[in-house]
Symmetry: C2
Subunit: 195 residues, 2 copies
Amino acid sequence: MTGRSSTSLRADARRNIDALLQAALAVFSDQGIDAPMRTIANRAGVGVGTLYRHFPQRSDLIKAIIRREVEALVEAANDLVEQHEPGAALATWLSLVVDLVATKRGLGPALHSGDAAYQSLPDYVFGALIHPLHMLLASAAAANIIRSDVDAGDLLNAVLRVATPASEGDVAQAKRMVALLVNGLYHRPNAALPS
Amino acid sequence: MTGRSSTSLRADARRNIDALLQAALAVFSDQGIDAPMRTIANRAGVGVGTLYRHFPQRSDLIKAIIRREVEALVEAANDLVEQHEPGAALATWLSLVVDLVATKRGLGPALHSGDAAYQSLPDYVFGALIHPLHMLLASAAAANIIRSDVDAGDLLNAVLRVATPASEGDVAQAKRMVALLVNGLYHRPNAALPS
DNA sequence: CAACAAACGGAATCGTGTTCCACTTTATAT
DNA sequence: ATATAAAGTGGAACACGATTCCGTTTGTTG
């Protein structure tokens, strides 16, 4: 894949990868996630060829940037169930998810663009976060705090979508909406939508 | 603006506008909302210049296509409050909103792309739908069926986002998630998300 | 049926993504 | 040290779609 800090990588290659990631982070948050590849390569003091060698797809670059944070989120789930009651653990963790998506400018749209170029991104994020969420949901359901008929995939999807702030950086709105979703998790004779 | 069927428009111009709209509808649902402009112009038997003359931005084309349906949605709200109890009216109307967004392939992503080229689209859809929703919410809140502290803008935003189906045409998931949102509207000592 | 304005078409321009390969740098063996 | 192979680099070249521009055509009006 990419960004491997482990095996057999020439010194200059590793240096360039670092420079590219740093440049990409800066350019993305400056110009948005669709910034020209050339711009990133230039900023890193590297040719486009080098950029494409290490990150064949734009989503690989984004993925490399957020991987650390997604992994942190996965671990956070374990800490939360141990240290809080199930309902609070779930709510808190979802709040962290919102922070991640809402904070990285353009990440939200990229996750749901439907564009083939980004396909591996949602797959990665979704795949990484679905297990912790499933665990948190099961835990809360087992404690009879919430309904047990909510699919983790559905919920994760909804949260990831809702988390994308409407106007630049309106994280508060995103949180209110996720709170509404969470509120909907509680027991109630649920009226399904008419079709 | 565009698509004016009213004043002082040469006969060939009106004919071409019709042809373009029909072609765009076909091409969009066939190739997605990012289909090349040339393709649409060709299909309409018209030069690209003509396409750009009538629809300077891609979003103008999309807007013209969905305008009819959005307007229908606005009217439907009035019928629903008259013919159903407030809770059902709200739920049913939201279901119609989901149908609109989920059905038009690519409309969802376009609404939330954050791309400046599409900015006028969300503005238009949001602006048109916010009033009916506000009315429906107020009506249900007045009947003490739901909480009265939910902002219509928040909810509309959330519904529009959630309505975008994850996988091609998975309207069912979208409806389940909107149902969860609706469920969250009911009275309850609501626990806000931690920040 | 002029004469004029409106509308048309498509070649030309521009910006960006992506590929390709001759050249350079690094690692390794002797 | 030095030679050699392998890995990595840079950027010109190409592909493709958006958008503009303007000479030509068509509809309208009196």
